[in-house]
């Protein structure tokens, strides 16, 4: 489904990714782990088409497309979804308005009829129920005044409604309390399908207690330094990133108390 070959990316002339190779097949769940600054989020953003990231070498094929040649909206219409690490606020625009515009855009791109208001509401409400979320979510302005956890859950709601072929979750688990973490995991597990794939970008192992990955890759210094199965994540939990990337420190096991800083893990805590 997704084939990344020798991907080099720089921002403002600074090299961030220095040769990523990754193969994601339909039906698989991949976890990309790594310490801060290893390039995890850059990889997620490049796949979604964020401007300002310069691909200096390599290629990305997605379902037969040259993914890097597509505009962000074309990627979305081709089934790529990025759950943002820091979801944006769109004041005055109700969640339901964005969801409907987005879904109908994707349906048009797939040659399907747009959903009318009633059918759309039925679809969305079934997803809300699936995620155990309240209807009131729909009528609040997109992410405006949402708590960190609500924003992340809102990303998962969007994902559930849009049903992407390739879902990329960029540190969606950071800063979540255990309930929100379960919602996220539930959303991802419900999406699993032989025709779909998921890439979980995460700093911590704890999300992988709820979503069992088929493959785990450790990113350090802009490249994948180790790949393995789910056991690799557990090994990382034991040994820390220092084990694979001696220059960096940081814990792998998440703090499940819900008050974890989003940006950086606290050093010296485990």
């Amino acid at each position: 489904m997704l084939h990344i070959e020798n991907l080099h990316v720089s921002i403002d002339g600074k090299s961030i990714l220095t040769g990523i190779d990754l193969d994601v097949k339909a039906g698989e769940v991949h976890a990309i782990m790594g310490p801060n600054g290893s390039g995890k989020s850059t990889l997620a953003q490049v796949l979604a088409g964020r401007e300002g990231y310069v691909v200096t070498a390599g290629s990305v094929r997605y379902l037969g497309h040259d993914l890097l040649a597509l505009e962000p909206e074309q990627r979305a219409r081709a089934g790529v979804f990025l759950a943002f690490q820091y979801p944006l606020e769109i004041p005055g625009v109700a969640n339901v308005q964005l969801l409907r515009a987005a879904l109908n855009n994707l349906r048009r791109a797939r040659g399907e009829n747009e959903l009318d208001a009633m059918d759309f509401l039925d679809t969305v409400k079934s997803k809300l129920a699936l995620l155990g979320m309240d209807d009131s979510f729909l009528y609040r302005a997109v992410n405006e005044g949402f708590s960190g956890g609500e924003k992340k859950r809102n990303e998962i709601l969007q994902m559930a409604v849009l049903e992407p072929r390739l879902a990329i979750l960029d540190e969606t688990d950071s800063g979540l309390d255990i309930d929100a973490l379960k919602t996220v995991a539930h959303g991802v597990n419900a999406l699993k399908h032989p025709e779909r794939a998921v890439i979980l970008v995460t700093h911590y192992q704890r999300l992988l207690n709820y979503i069992v990955p088929d493959h785990v890759h450790v990113l350090a210094g802009g490249r994948i330094v180790r790949s393995g199965d789910a056991r690799l994540a557990l090994e990382l939990e034991d040994k820390g990133y220092g084990w694979l990337a001696p220059d960096v420190q940081g814990n792998v096991q998440g703090d499940v108390q819900g008050d974890v800083p989003m940006e950086a893990p606290r050093e010296g805590r485990l």
Partner: protein, 484 residues
């Protein structure tokens, strides 16, 4: 949050889109030679068969105007206007007083169709009566019979002068006197037509009243006069919408609107203004110098202004409320958009005179391209206005690195019990927001429209439904490619 510069070729291209409603209708016009003097005013008055009091009023206004100089306090800039280089009267040569649409010049009707307001269909549309103004003379009025059965008067100003001279005489100039300001004074001297509405005691007008203005004659300034009176306990909602054809010369527009709400009456006045804004370099476009003011003359009266201003090269406009009656309420909801080289200096004045008067102001300014957008508002609480309340919310949205947004709030409070609040924000459409929405499958254009509509939501929800839809479309067209 940092806002990196946005560059996008698609967007740049769309900015260059031309004004869609630029065309000239080929109709013979009856035009008075250029220039302004007492003879021209006498001629206008004579052509309209006006009673003596109207001519006197016009002449007094003209003589006062000669003593005035153009105001310079606003933030707009324009080359000097030559008031002797303007035609002060032009009317389409049609058969006298069409009784119905079949008598209206078909060319004229086609013009309205191009604007998307075919009268025949409009007539059929439930709830909307249209008083269409083509240049200076009203050409068609619909739904009149139904309104007449309720005692509601909705007609052209000229007709009102003929049929209801006492009402006109009583109310004309009672909110905006002919001495008010340079442009209102000029209007008082030379206005040619406009709309007149009177809603009798206790009557709730069952439909939205709407007028489409259009400037067409070459070099003819347009001077409209609108007078709306809601008698005790009456209610009326009035919609005003405008587009103008493209041309190179700047056209002056100096309208006056007066609203009078008596005890327990309510007037809701909504405007969507889309006159030709000039080209991308700032050539051409309408100069719009408008005086709009309403007076809550009785207790518990309520006046609400809602405007969506996307057109004109220059917009100079401050729809205001004089809150004279106790417990009266004034509201102002505004979206003003400036793109390319457009300049807008707009806002409101809320004058609190009665006790327990309340006012609220919501102003949304959107600046794109090289546009300049200023909110200018006065909240004045007089010594008589115990317990006056005002809330002002002023938000600016910037869409380019070359545009400007200014806020000039003036607050004068003369009573210690008053409570006046002013909030202001400035934000810029960010690359991050656009990327977020595009990553959900929205095109850049749809993403911009969604963000802008969200920004304007508080104002749009005040517009009648059909107008809100039109306003959103207009904003989308005006903003095509405005990021950059």
């Amino acid at each position: 949050m940092a806002y990196p510069e946005t560059r996008n070729a698609e967007v740049e291209r769309r900015v260059a889109d031309e004004y869609r409603w630029g065309f000239v209708t080929d109709i013979e016009q009856e035009t008075v030679p250029k220039g302004l003097n007492e003879d021209v005013i006498r001629l206008i008055s004579a052509k309209k068969h006006e009673p003596e009091f109207m001519l006197d009023w016009r002449l007094r206004a003209y003589r006062h105007w000669l003593t005035l100089t153009e105001p310079t306090w606003s933030s707009v800039h324009h080359p000097p206007i030559d008031y002797q280089d303007i035609h002060y009267y032009s009317a389409p040569k049609t058969r006298a007083q069409p009784k119905d649409l079949s008598e209206v010049d078909p060319e004229l009707l086609r013009t309205y169709e191009k604007l998307g307001i075919p009268l025949q269909e409009r007539e059929a549309l439930a709830g909307v009566a249209v008083d269409a103004v083509f240049d200076s003379v009203s050409v068609a009025t619909t739904f009149k019979d139904k309104l007449e059965s309720l005692g509601i008067i909705f007609c052209s100003f000229s007709e009102a002068v003929q049929k209801y001279p006492e009402l006109v005489r009583h109310y004309l100039g009672s909110v905006v006197p002919y001495t008010d300001n340079y442009f209102a004074t000029l209007n008082s001297a030379v206005f040619t037509d406009g709309s007149f509405v009177y809603v009798p005691k206790g009557v709730r007008c069952p439909m939205e009243l709407s007028t489409y203005f259009r400037i067409n004659a070459k070099n003819s300034g347009q001077f409209e006069r609108t007078l709306i009176i809601a008698d005790e306990g009456a209610y009326v909602s009035y919609l005003e919408g405008c587009t103008a054809p493209m041309r190179d010369e700047n056209q002056l527009h100096a309208a006056v609107v007066e609203l009078i709400a008596l005890t327990d009456a309510r007037i809701k006045y909504s405007t969507v203004q889309n006159w030709y804004p000039g080209d991308a370099e700032g050539r051409g476009g309408i100069y719009n110098f408008v005086t709009k003011r309403g007076e809550c003359r009785g207790d518990r009266a309520h006046i609400s202004w809602t405007q969506v201003e996307t057109g004109s090269a220059i917009t100079w406009k401050y729809p205001s409320c004089i809150l004279r009656g106790d417990d009266s309420v004034g509201e102002f909801y505004s979206v003003a958009l400036t793109n390319h080289r457009q300049q807008a200096d707009t806002g409101t004045k809320m004058i609190h005179i009665g006790r327990n008067t309340r006012s609220s102001i919501v102003s949304k300014g959107i600046s794109a391209g090289f546009g300049s957008n200023a909110y200018r508002g006065l909240v004045k609480v007089l010594p008589s206005a115990a317990n006056a309340r005002n809330h002002t919310q002023c938000d600016s949205l910037l869409m380019s690195d070359h545009c400007a947004a200014h806020t000039f709030p003036y607050i004068e409070v003369k009573h210690p019990s008053a409570r006046v609040e002013h909030e202001a924000t400035t934000s810029k459409i960010g690359d991050d927001q656009l990327f977020y929405l595009r990553s959900r499958g929205l095109s850049e254009e749809d993403a911009v429209n969604l963000i802008v509509n969200g920004f304007c939501k508080e104002v749009f929800k005040e517009l009648p439904m059909e107008f809100a839809v039109e306003a959103q479309k207009l904003l989308a067209v005006s903003l095509e490619g405005a990021i950059g």
